[in-house]
């Protein structure tokens, strides 16, 4: 049960693609479900370290700590839901390649413990993201993809610069060893490395100041694809940013700066969603907002808050994927993605899906978002961070404003197009809605997992303080 399976199997599937050209979606569904099963089975043997030795000094190590296990399970789960949803449609080669490469890149980011290895998966996930953005093959898709590539390339430049500086100064690539020797480096160079890392990963985790490109990309790509982006892509980079921050013992003032940036992301994104008319951009802003919230929680470096953040990651991924898949359904049936489409379709089930998704995003009981928001607020109150609490509470009022404006569309409009869902789609959305409700009413088991993951993530950081 080596960790490499997570990386190799999807790549192998891409390689053997010509053999099953017509059943691509079935293959990717089976593949992602298998990986999901695999992830669940190796829960017991945590933490799993695997060293792939080419020649003794040159070795690539993969580590599956409880945090990365949680994320890998989340990624494989969202991937299987995504491909289940696509079973109905005709097989699309680019989509198959893109999604599987994205899965590999994202899992690689989370697993690898070697800085250069991270760079490779950084590039793999980026390339697959560029490909997926341009799936619609029209001017809008290509425009979005090109913009994404330019900014992605800019980010990889800085990441490359930081790797080179690290290697030039301490000559080692393994994260553990970098962590030990990091404070040997000269003060300015440390700051330069951290800064370039922050810029590179900041662009990828879509923090404030560096995330102005995100709404365009979400608007350009298909809704289902943007669902994948918000469920997997930004989450993995978020984990990476804070994993490196904790490993390299970033100073408290820099952590405070991160908190400020995260708070700004949350507030600015939610505010700018208020008057937007484009549904995909609204959900993009909402994703940015939630990322800001997760970053805010992670930036305090406190186990309770990190536990809440991880729980929020999972809940947000589920809710946002559901919303985007439902939006994709609508987009395929009605064509446009203006926010008026909410007034032009007639399907009780789909309305329920949007309502459950919106309420969970907002953190309204009895859905999962509430448990996340409550533990977040409890953690903040424990740290007496009352400013952050006030910010979260007031800005989520803005969030409520635009989400309920969307929901109120159901009552407006006259001649509505009846949208019928296939039993499979009803099953997928039903499962996801039930999961959100279940997590809302009984969050304890998942919270315990997140607690354990939080301790694993912050173990080193607390030891050093």
């Amino acid at each position: 049960m080596s960790l490499l399976l997570f990386i190799l199997l999807p790549l192998l599937a891409i390689f053997l693609m010509p053999f099953y050209r017509a059943y691509l979606h079935y293959v990717s569904t089976v593949l992602s479900m298998a990986l999901f099963g695999l992830a669940l089975t190796c829960k017991a043997a945590l933490p799993l370290v695997e060293r792939v030795a080419v020649d003794l000094p040159l070795a690539i190590t993969f580590e599956l700590s409880s945090v990365s296990w949680l994320l890998v399970t989340l990624f494989t789960l969202s991937m299987s839901l995504f491909s289940l949803y696509h079973l109905r449609f005709s097989s699309n080669k680019a989509l198959f390649v893109g999604t599987n490469m994205l899965l590999v890149g994202v899992i690689g980011l989370v697993l690898s413990r070697d800085i250069f290895n991270i760079y490779i998966f950084f590039e793999i996930s980026s390339i697959s993201a560029y490909l997926l953005t341009s799936l619609n093959q029209d001017a809008k898709a290509y425009g979005g993809a090109i913009r994404y590539m330019i900014i992605g390339a800019f980010a990889s430049l800085f990441f490359l610069l930081s790797i080179m500086l690290i290697y030039l100064t301490i000559g080692v690539l393994d994260l553990q060893m970098i962590a030990q020797r990091f404070n040997l480096i000269d003060e300015q160079v440390q700051y330069l490395i951290l800064l370039s890392l922050f810029i590179a990963l900041g662009i990828k985790t879509e923090l404030f100041g560096l995330n102005f490109w995100v709404p365009d990309v979400y608007q350009a790509s298909r809704s289902a694809v943007s669902g994948l982006f918000s469920a997997m892509l930004s989450k993995s980079y978020l984990f990476l940013l804070f994993h490196l921050a904790y490993l390299l013992h970033v100073s408290t003032s820099q952590m405070a700066f991160l908190t400020l940036v995260a708070a700004l992301t949350f507030a600015v994104a939610e505010f700018s969603a208020l008057k937007s008319r484009e549904t995909k951009r609204i959900f993009a802003f909402s994703t940015l907002g939630q990322i800001g919230l997760i970053a805010l929680a992670l930036s305090y470096g406190d186990t309770a808050l990190t536990e809440a953040a991880l729980f929020l990651i999972i809940v947000h991924a589920l809710a946002k994927l559901m919303l985007f898949l439902a939006l994709d359904l609508l987009e395929r049936r009605l064509g446009s993605t203006k926010s008026e489409i909410f007034a032009r379709f007639e399907s009780l089930f789909l309305m329920a899906v949007f309502t459950v998704g919106a309420l969970s995003l907002l953190g309204i009981p009895p859905f999962a978002g509430f448990a996340a928001k409550l533990s977040l607020l409890k953690g903040l109150a424990g740290l007496e961070a009352y400013g952050a609490m006030a910010l979260i509470l007031t800005v989520s009022l803005i969030e409520a404003a635009y989400l309920f404006r969307l929901l109120s569309g159901f009552r407006q409009g006259e001649q509505k197009m009846v949208v019928t869902l296939s039993p499979l789609e009803r099953l997928i959305f039903g499962v996801m809605m039930f999961a959100l409700l279940l997590l809302g009413l009984m969050p304890q088991p998942l919270l315990a997992l997140c607690q354990e993951a939080a301790q694993a993530m912050l173990g080193g950081y607390h030891a050093a303080l």
């Binding site: 560029y130 001017a139 590539m149 300015q188 365009d216 350009a220 937007s276």
Partner: protein, 123 residues
Amino acid sequence: MFDSLHPLITMISLAIFGVALLGVLVKKNLFKIFLAFSVAESALFLFFIGNHYTPGLKAPIAADGITRFDPAFMVDPLPQAMILTTIVIGIAVSALGLSMVIRYYKLTGHMRIDKMDELGEEQ
């Protein structure tokens, strides 16, 4: 830290890197932007390899007669391997980017970055 780096190479590579970034920011044509990015990347490679290379040592290639890696008179092979993979990745990214630019040009008839107005709120 700057004393251990080779001053001349660092200066040249940073200069090239600056020019490349300037190109990315100023140039309007998408082709030129992607070319500027690959120039910037190669500037970084130059910086990295230049500063790491100690003159007089052999390249770490298993030629005839040398079967085992010997740090005494062989250069550290790791950066070489890294840069090689990065070059490959760089080429892959620019290939994908340029093919998209061509497709975009076929669809919209222009390649100017400041005229890309399909996305945004007004539509």
